[in-house]
Amino acid sequence: MVGGDLFGYIDEASTVANEIQRTYPSALKIGATLEQEIGFAMAVPADQPELLKLLNTLALRIGGDELSVQNAYNNWISVRSETVLTTAFSGRSWVSSPS
C-alpha cells in the first residue's frame, strides 16, 4: 500500500491503529471508518452449557464497563487526533491536521 499498489486496507480499528503506530506512522493513516463493527466473544465447547452461562455473564459485565474497556484500549493504542470537517457545499470531506 505504501508503494502505491493498493488504495486501502480494511480491518478492525485497534489492529489497524496499532500497525500504523508501530510500522508506518508517517506513511499511513485511518482514512475511513465503516458503519460495520466486529464483535469479539468467548467460545466454549458446545457440551459445556454451565460454563457458557457463566462466561456469558462475565462477557456482559466486561462489555458493560465502558470505562475499563476504554482504559484497556488506551493502554495499547494512542490514536492520532484528526478533525473531519464536512462541507455541505461540495459534499466532500476534508481532513484538518491537529495544530
Binding site: I10, A27, A41, A46, L54, L58, I62, A72
Partner: protein, 174 residues
Amino acid sequence: MMQLDLFPLGATSDELGQRTFRQLKRSGLLANEETYQQLSLDSLLAKLDIEFQMTPSQREFLFDKGELEACVSADQLPLEAMSAGKYVGIIADLMSQAFARDLPIPLSVHALEPDETWQNDLSNGHCDFRTMVVPSGEDPRFSFTEDFFQQPLVMATTTDTLFVNDLYHWGAEK
C-alpha cells in the same frame, strides 16, 4: 448490647477488621500465613453480584476446576499476545480484570502454537475456553458468549489520501 450510632449502616471499619483478624489468628482460627486485606465494600458487592447469579452446579464446576484455562493468541497485539511469559494486550487486560473482580478462581492461559488452531486446541481439551473469537455460528462443536469488545471496521490509506466518510462515497469518487 447494640450501639446503633457507632457506625452508619453499611460502613466498614479497617481498625475493627484488623483487630478481629489478630484475634482470629491468636485463637488459631486463621492460619499464620494468612495476611490481612482491607475490606472494600464495592469490590465485595461486585463479586457477590456475579457469584449470586451462579447456580450450585456452576459453583461446583468452578471449584472442581480450581482455575479456568484460556486458549490465547501468542502474537496478535494489540488484542492479545504472550510477552516474556506474560499474557498482555487489550483483551488480556479485560480478562485479567474481570476474573480478579468477578470470579472466585484464577485465569490461566494456554498460548496457541503458530501452526495450531483454537478450534483444535479447544476440542482437544487443551483449554476451557477461547478468549477472542468472532462468532460464526457455523461450527456445532462450539457455543459463543455475547460480544464483550466491539471495534469498528476501518480502512488504512496513505496519508495523502483525503478522509473518506464511507466506502460508498469512496466508490463514487473512484
